[in-house]
Symmetry: C2
Subunit: 232 residues, 2 copies
């Protein structure tokens, strides 16, 4: 596998470039519009053909580069029915897969941060892209955009923590410079979701958070509902 | 191998935690003082025993956490004679090694950014920590702290670009969110050092850079010459 993890420093968003080493087919996961030139240049230099632009969810803090990636490379935009977004070329349901060369990405619905959050599991490589469902020692907020703490708790416990212990979990953000975690670590050390905390504990923790609204939500959510399509 | 890449967002410095999966012996490479709690907590949670605090060079933009790591964990500080730093527990010469469990880190002198820059090669895993000798599509500046563009060009071409093409190069910084590169890529695409550029080209490019002095050089360099020792 060809694998690159890339940060948008402005929003602390992690983007992932995943490619088949032999066929050079590749997917970009959670690309950020402001970083599209960096990402397209890197894919070209690595001799990768971008076949898919994949999102973990409808982001509220940045606009996806998916539409631009599609326009520039012919990549197909992957969406989920639950998201309500328009413009996807491929719609994947829970349990569905996207095949990138010989790599199989499986979509697992993990709602709770938003109602259409998807964790993409690359089982052959022992890793998963969790978006904002599980972050390193944290999780996405549940106070807007169909957020629901009970749903998130169940998603994480039933659909992410049930992956093998050593599964590498690549998050959608990290604000303290951490790149990756594992199922084992989050089960043990996640201060909200791990260490034996109950659903009730989690709901109480999430309810007590008093967070400002994301700065760019009014721009980002509508734009992401069309995969960052630029009006022509 | 247990491997973690960690960013200090303030200075865009990459820190690396490298451990033997079986013995749990580990080394912290280029730790940043402000991040020491994060790094020690992570090592403890991963059940790693920090045996060594290793530096790629005397940094001018941040203070190392090496001394604190030593005080807190008993890790030994690894230095090089060329650095002029005092307080190392282990002094490694060019070609010398540090053994972390079954992992062997080989020191390669790669001066030019500073006169004591060391690239640490972990050949068994196909990777190297280049510090500021080679960055992703860039390199460390050569205009202060014994910087010497001719020396850096030779270090990179003779001691880093001669590693196998697929060797993963983990840099000391990245200001655009990139995490890693390879020998192949930098030979081909590094705008200063790759693509067939000559030593003369490189010297001209580096001479033409007009960079402000690092903001924290007056604090960082003296502090790093004692591995960040805190006066008691």
């Amino acid at each position: 596998m060809v694998f690159r993890q890339l940060l948008d420093p402005e929003t602390s968003t992690w983007t992932y470039l995943v490619g088949d080493e032999r066929t050079r087919d590749a997917a970009l996961i959670d690309g950020v519009r402001e970083q599209v030139e960096r990402d397209l240049e890197l894919a070209a230099q690595l001799d990768l053909k971008l076949r898919f632009a994949i999102e973990t969810h409808i982001h509220a803090d940045h606009v996806t580069s998916a539409w631009i990636v599609k326009e520039r490379t012919g990549a197909r935009i992957v969406g989920t029915r639950a998201s309500g977004a328009t413009g996807a070329d491929v719609v994947v349901e829970d349990g569905g897969t996207v095949q990138v060369g010989s790599l199989v990405l499986e979509a697992r619905s993990t709602p709770g941060h938003t109602d259409s959050c998807t964790t993409w599991v690359l089982a052959s490589e022992g890793l998963a892209f969790t978006g904002d469902a599980v972050l390193v020692r944290g999780c996405g907020r549940t106070d807007f955009q169909q957020g629901d703490a009970r749903r998130l708790y169940r998603s994480v416990h039933e659909r992410i923590f049930t992956l093998p212990d050593d599964t590498l979990l690549y998050p959608g953000h990290d604000y303290r410079g951490r790149t990756v975690t594992t199922v084992r670590e989050e089960r043990a050390f996640n201060p909200r979701l791990g260490g034996g905390r109950s659903e009730q504990d989690f709901v109480a923790i999430m309810s007590a958070l008093k967070l400002d609204p994301p700065k760019r939500i009014d721009v980002a959510v509508p734009a992401n509902l069309t995969f960052g399509r630029i009006a022509s």
